[in-house]
């Protein structure tokens, strides 16, 4: 090939790089590994991670059972080794799948249109508020303190240099955003109000009441959904203007935090302000139905600095997994699944309460997560549970110091009654120990 091209050595192609910068030796990285060694290396790393633990962790990443069909289909090279469907004639598989995904997200969220995906729930929430700014021409945003703390951190990073002042609305005694405080924070310069439901405490917010409040002041309501399975049994946020969802629960591994699948949905009238890719229906020259990427004049490759977002690569393959998952469970299955999550979480909450833990926010409805407060530090309880190969609830002190020794517990359908009971026993043991100690102290 070199001869045909007319060069003497491969090095000639790199002569354009100034000599002083050209590498003369090897990169200082390990030698090449055989496939068998690579598998062994990662098996060892997997073993260094905990395996075989039952986890009560949620907080934005949910461990649901993943039907095997998902990976059988998503592992087809035709899907995972393709790229963005810029050439629709040879990308109809991806495009039709996106169209079905968009449809199902609309059905579940009560919105009119949904995009092909965003990076994740946190960046999607930030983009949701940026969209509210574009639609309203206003600049300020209000975020409920019950929105995932890491989502709020991400939004703060995005907003800082875009002239988007943010304020945070506190939560009330029932674990929902404090409506009076929220009302005071919204003014005629507020573009968007962001809430999460079920919120970070697992509590379902009163979307209709908040939407009324927000709309009266001419702002848009952005609703973030972190636990997508909730949509099987919790009323969709149909009163919202923008829904930003994290669809990880739909068949995506928790995978140490990613890749996940954000998705944004909105009302028809805001369609030209939505970020990200959209698949739309059309016909070919013979009138046959087909799908294409559409409305791309919103996007960076056409509009450059005037685009709705800089997003290009999205989470397509993960969206495909979500799509397959939604198809497997469908209209009845998602409901039954959500029902099981609801039952497990309520059983656990009651058992933990009986064991002496204080159940917070009992007055408001919750889905599959709830907050308890304990006399002893969460870490002490969790350390003992870890010995039984149970990962306990998420300590909340780091995010909400005022809550003291509180923790967030998630019960998906994968948690068995036996494990819930085992935790209850442990809670009771620590509680009675504390009581005994207090007795001695008196």
């Amino acid at each position: 090939m070199l001869k045909e091209i007319g060069v003497n050595a491969i090095g000639d192609f790199f002569a354009v790089i100034p000599a002083e910068y050209r590498l003369t030796g090897d990169l200082n990285i390990p030698r090449s590994y055989a496939e068998s060694e690579i598998v062994e290396f990662f098996r060892d790393r997997a073993a260094e991670n905990g395996q075989g633990y039952t986890s009560f962790l949620g907080g934005g990443a949910y461990s649901h059972y993943r039907p095997v069909v998902i990976d059988s289909l998503a592992s087809r090279g035709e899907f995972f080794t393709a790229y963005t469907p810029y050439q629709p004639e040879i990308s109809q598989g991806t495009l039709q799948a996106i169209f079905e995904f968009q449809t199902m997200i609309c059905e579940l969220t009560g919105m009119d249109v949904a995009n092909a995906s965003m990076y994740d729930g946190s960046t999607g929430a930030a983009e949701g508020l940026m969209m509210a700014v574009r639609v309203t021409g206003r600049h300020k945003s209000v975020i409920a303190s019950t929105v995932h703390p890491e989502y709020r951190e991400v939004i703060a990073t995005y907003a800082r240099h875009q002239g988007m002042p943010l304020t945070t609305a506190p939560y009330g005694k029932n674990g929902r955003v404090d409506l009076e405080a929220l009302d005071r924070l919204i003014d005629n310069e507020t573009a968007g109000v962001l809430i999460q439901s079920p919120n970070f405490f697992g509590v379902i917010e009163d979307i209709a009441a908040i939407a009324d409040m927000v709309h009266k002041k001419g702002a848009l309501l952005v609703v973030s959904i972190a636990e997508a399975i909730s949509l099987g049994i919790v009323k969709p946020p149909a009163e919202a203007d923008i829904v930003s969802m994290e669809a990880q629960s739909f068949g995506v591994p928790v995978g140490f935090g990613g890749p996940y699948c954000g998705v944004m949905a909105t009302r028809e009238k805001f369609i030209r302000q939505i970020p990200g890719r959209l698949a739309g229906e059309t016909v070919d020259r013979h009138g046959k139905r087909g799908f294409v990427l559409t409305l791309s004049t919103r996007e960076q490759h056409i509009r450059r600095e005037k685009a709705t977002s800089n997003i290009c690569t999205n989470q397509a393959l993960v969206a495909l997994m979500c799509n397959i998952y939604m198809t497997i469970y469908g209209k009845q299955g998602l409901k039954e699944l959500a029902q099981q999550n609801l039952a497990k979480a309520h059983y656990a909450a009651q058992q933990f309460k009986k064991s002496g833990a204080r159940l917070l926010f009992e007055e408001a409805p919750f889905f599959n997560e709830f907050v308890i407060q304990t006399e002893v530090e969460t870490k002490a309880i969790n350390d003992r549970l870890l010995e039984q190969r149970i990962v306990g609830g998420l300590p909340l002190r780091k995010f909400y110091p005022e809550m003291g020794s509180a923790s967030l517990w998630c019960c998906t359908e994968t948690i068995s009654r036996a494990v819930i009971d085992a935790v209850a026993v442990e809670l009771e043991a620590t509680t009675s120990k504390v009581e005994a100690a207090q007795e001695v102290a008196r």
């Binding site: 910068y21 995972f80 249109v113 990613g258 969790n382 819930i420």
Partner: protein, 498 residues
């Protein structure tokens, strides 16, 4: 008209409607275990927030789902089918072992909030990947948090901004060459900067004189892709860096084209201050029909204090942990730690290659692009004669005389069994054909591609209507994109009876 097509033949593939059109009540593809806790009454627990109905969600059986998505998959072209020379996207082979290791239970089922004590394997993977990417780029520090290239750009420019702010003035402008990806100006705008265009010279490179004229105390950084989108290495890269640094501005390098450099030269050595990598391009993590990606950002020491939280650190006892106490950090750009599954795949890729393999990869990618250039030059106009690195950009200037545009040639290439190149980009070349073969292609595959392109050039000359009517062998002919945008139909709706 198809006699010269050797690589591809038509074959039967199945028709398939939308999943909603196959749905009927009572069909199901799931089975839940019996509930082992007491049943609850949802409407009693949830009150008026309870949901009754899931609308038009589908109800289908498992075999129908398997067939549905299998049939859809057969309508796609993918790297697994053949050469996918989409310029700037680096569509290389995705090794299967990477998929296997990313799905190992201990990694795929690790919760991001599980105790660090039982996350050491994941942390070690992140640390090893970080160290190796730092070595490959010649930088000092890195964050793996950004979810994709454009997200990495945003992170990098925020680092620049935070650094300049710490020096007293964040400045106002970002310079972006006219050949840049659209994400560059869009990113600069998201970070609160004005975008100023920088024209390239006749060799397709940054013009040092106009750069000198444009860089002043208002310029925060230049966002430079190197090799640029013409596949041309910026030979005066160190001078570019010097011009910027002399005025206190930084050099951001868009690492989209890093596949031309790995193991041969390191951006940190030639003056880049901060750059992103696309793990889904250079480091072979699959493109997945549009994502997921991963866009780590590597930087020089001066920018390290500003990296997103958390960063990995070694504890005194030798274990690894996350450090959240970073007072100068720009903050988080994503929840948790980034697209971890992509870190596993990228590390597996680097391990499979080793230092010699990575260098060879780069050499093969550049060799393949030059081979294509050599054989197609003359048939297609080569607007910039500057030496080619990993991708070559032609224009449709010759074919335009017969009314044929780059988009037509692309569609005809489909009939020959190839995915088209990148069409009409970079914008500096009117009617661009941007071809990036990657190292994955054999000489045989390249020769077939070259033959296809030669045949199309011939067809364009002799029977242009063949080219403008393409493709012929696909399920669908050209789709009406204008109609799609004029009256957008973005979701299925049940047929309404009038």
């Amino acid at each position: 008209m198809n006699s010269k097509i050797e690589k591809a033949a038509t074959h039967i593939n199945q028709n398939e409607g939308l999943i909603f059109e196959k749905s009927s009540p009572g069909k199901k593809a799931y089975k839940l275990p019996p509930l082992d806790v007491p049943e609850v009454n949802a409407s009693a627990l949830l009150g008026d927030t309870a949901r009754e109905d899931l609308g038009h969600m589908p109800e289908v059986s498992e075999i129908e789902i398997i067939r549905h998505f299998t049939r859809l998959s057969t309508w796609n072209y993918a790297v697994d089918h053949g050469m996918y020379p989409l310029g700037s996207c680096t569509m290389k082979y995705n090794a299967r072992v990477n998929e296997l290791v990313a799905r190992l239970g201990g990694l795929a089922e690790a919760h991001p909030y599980q105790p660090e004590k039982i996350s050491q394997g994941a942390l070690r993977i992140m640390k090893m990947l970080s160290e190796q990417l730092i070595e490959i780029t010649g930088m000092d520090a890195i964050t793996l948090q950004p979810a994709a290239g454009a997200h990495g750009e945003m992170t990098g420019i925020l680092l620049v901004r935070a650094y300049l702010e710490s020096q007293g003035n964040p400045r106002k402008k970002i310079l972006v060459p006219d050949s840049a990806h659209g994400t560059n100006p869009a990113t600069a705008a998201m970070c609160g900067y004005a975008v100023e265009n920088l024209r390239s010279n006749s060799a397709g490179m940054v013009d040092i004189a106009s750069l000198e004229a444009q860089v002043n105390e208002d310029v925060a950084a230049l966002m430079l892709t190197n090799p640029n989108t013409l596949g041309v290495f910026e030979q005066e890269i160190h001078k570019i860096a010097d011009v910027l640094h002399a005025k206190g501005a930084l050099m951001y390098m868009d690492g989209a084209n890093m596949n031309a450099l790995v193991g041969k030269v390191r951006p940190g050595d030639f003056g880049a201050d901060v750059m992103h990598l696309n793990l889904h391009k250079t480091f072979s993590t699959p493109h997945g029909g549009g994502g997921p990606g991963s866009g780590p950002v590597a930087c020089k020491k001066i920018l390290e204090p500003f990296l997103p939280t958390p960063v990995i650190f070694s504890k005194p006892d030798g274990t690894l942990g996350f450090d959240y106490d970073r007072p100068h950090s720009i903050g988080r750009v994503r929840m948790f730690y980034g697209n971890f599954g992509m870190f596993v795949r990228a590390l597996a890729y680097i391990m499979a290659n080793g230092p010699e393999g990575l260098r060879q990869t780069t050499e093969d990618a550049v060799l393949n692009a030059n081979y294509i250039r050599k054989h197609l030059e003359g048939l297609y106009e080569l607007p910039y004669k500057t030496p080619t690195m990993h991708e070559v950009v032609f224009s449709d200037k010759v074919q335009t005389k017969k009314g044929i545009r780059t988009g037509d040639i692309a569609k005809r290439l489909i009939d020959y069994g190839f995915h088209p190149y990148t069409v009409s980009f970079p914008l500096v070349v009117p009617g661009a054909l941007m071809i990036e073969p990657t190292e994955s292609e054999s000489k045989e595959e390249l020769d077939q591609f070259i033959d296809a392109m030669k045949n199309i050039a011939d067809e364009a000359e002799k029977s242009p209507e063949v080219v403008t009517g393409a493709p012929y062998r696909t399920r669908l002919t050209r789709l009406d994109e204008t109609a799609a945008a004029r009256k957008p139909v973005l979701r299925w709706k049940p047929a309404t009876r009038s």
